[in-house]
Symmetry: C2
Amino acid sequence: MNQNRALTAKSLGEHKIIQIIQEHLTLMPNMPVPFGDDVSAINLNQKQVAVLKTDMLVAKTDVPQEMTLFQAARKALIMNISDFASKGVQPTAALVALGLPAGFTQKKIEEIADGLNAGAQEYDTYIIGGDTSEASDLIVSVSLYGIAEKSALMLRSGAKPGDILAVTGFFGKSAAGLRLLFGGCLASNNAKNLIDAVLVPKARLTEGLALGGCGLVTASMDSSDGLAWTLHELANFSNVGFELDTIPVAPEVKRFSELNSLDAAELALYGGEEYELVVTVKLEGWSAAVAAVQGVGGKLLPIGKATEGKQILLKTKSKRNTIEARGWEHFKSQV
Amino acid sequence: MNQNRALTAKSLGEHKIIQIIQEHLTLMPNMPVPFGDDVSAINLNQKQVAVLKTDMLVAKTDVPQEMTLFQAARKALIMNISDFASKGVQPTAALVALGLPAGFTQKKIEEIADGLNAGAQEYDTYIIGGDTSEASDLIVSVSLYGIAEKSALMLRSGAKPGDILAVTGFFGKSAAGLRLLFGGCLASNNAKNLIDAVLVPKARLTEGLALGGCGLVTASMDSSDGLAWTLHELANFSNVGFELDTIPVAPEVKRFSELNSLDAAELALYGGEEYELVVTVKLEGWSAAVAAVQGVGGKLLPIGKATEGKQILLKTKSKRNTIEARGWEHFKSQV
């Protein structure tokens, strides 16, 4: 056996595992969305595509002890809806395959069902089917379905040098919230906000639909693996680099970091488990894109621009730092 | 707490759990396929529906020790494709959410990817996306997508008294194969057939598409929970009963049962993990339906008829027995 083939999932990490699997699959001809983007799609007709996504929540790795079953089930929906949001697609329906430990009570099962339904209802979608199996961990495997105009899909691959880089909100809250939940950190007065970012995350669907509708976004991705990782992925798919003039650290994360002598930028860049959208917008369309997002009650914060050079740099008055390609990764990461 | 709500998944069983979950979900208006049928669907336009299915394979309960990872991954596809087959729908694409133990090697991951791809390719479909997470068990959660003419969908609900009850093959092989794999049974000369029924199951997609195409089937379901359970489900959904004049026991299961002093009919009726289609056909269309299935190289075996009375009876020259509503059920069943 080739020595490499003896490496374990833990040492390979999620990204390498996905690459290995892809290399063993026969590619569907004419895929409208390439492998590795936030969603998959299939041509329905000349104009429309069916959009599909599946993402699995595993209690052992994705659910802190303090999270209720209602919250965990809801989060499984949000993880998937966030990917749809990043492409500008309204989910029509969801299916859920559940793995349940044999000892789970009816009360727990009802909490899970209520959490699933709440997540779906918040984003105007429905759970229309699923499956239940016995498993050692609680597993909530969600599949989403929707329809989109092909021309309106916001892929990872369209950023051009000069485009404005923007985000739909501030970062670092989930990373700070997890540290509060795991103990050992002092709580600032906005601790509830930070903890809620972990327990009750929101998908930026309204913002994504507004951005998709305005036709001014050149590339988009959700930030569930962390801001830094997202920037590197967008850069790779689009064959550009990024120059940031600011790290969009949430104000409450700044206070939390000062109180606990932590690096706020580190939390915002590499924390992960956040569901903001990271997009690039045509320079000439910037005001209209901001207006579109504000029109639905959201924010669009400029944080830099796309560049010819392929690096991801933070350029402030005093320094010029490289943003590393790391983030939250299944198998490898530990909080 | 209500005393019932303290019951565990193990004592509730899969069917009751699914019912509990359904009762907590908001129903999508105008669902073209009701909750609980083999697949879910969404209206695309006046004539067509998008068809969706998700089913999860958990190594702990669904994979005998003798099954390779290639076979397990392939089986996860087959389980889902069989449900599409029973509705007469060609799957267009699949997504796969994988839960992998951290210690799995690259070699094992490649075997899984190859098995997934083989299952997809056998049935002219493609894996177009997915997700990977760390889990205690191997979990292979598959979602299938396809498009169908609404009028051609074979649901569970259309059987009418007088319709012919038929199956696409003989039963009992998986139940016998499992007994051989687990040891303690004598192997007949066709043992490989029985074991292959467990390790390399086939979905009756060609047969399902032929049956869907001929428009003569009034109700259809796959038999993955066992023939007896399937008959009861079809009866409940269609509000009919069935009178069987034969149990379609596979010849090799008869020999295996004689050799091991087992009840062949018991294996065929209650074994489960078989992927034949169980259908009802309009009396006047019987010859044409048989011809359609034979035309694609398949079998359509008549085993009885649908009745006004709601019982499921086996009526032979010498006796008249009730077929019980039991079969393979997650949480409750043990081989």
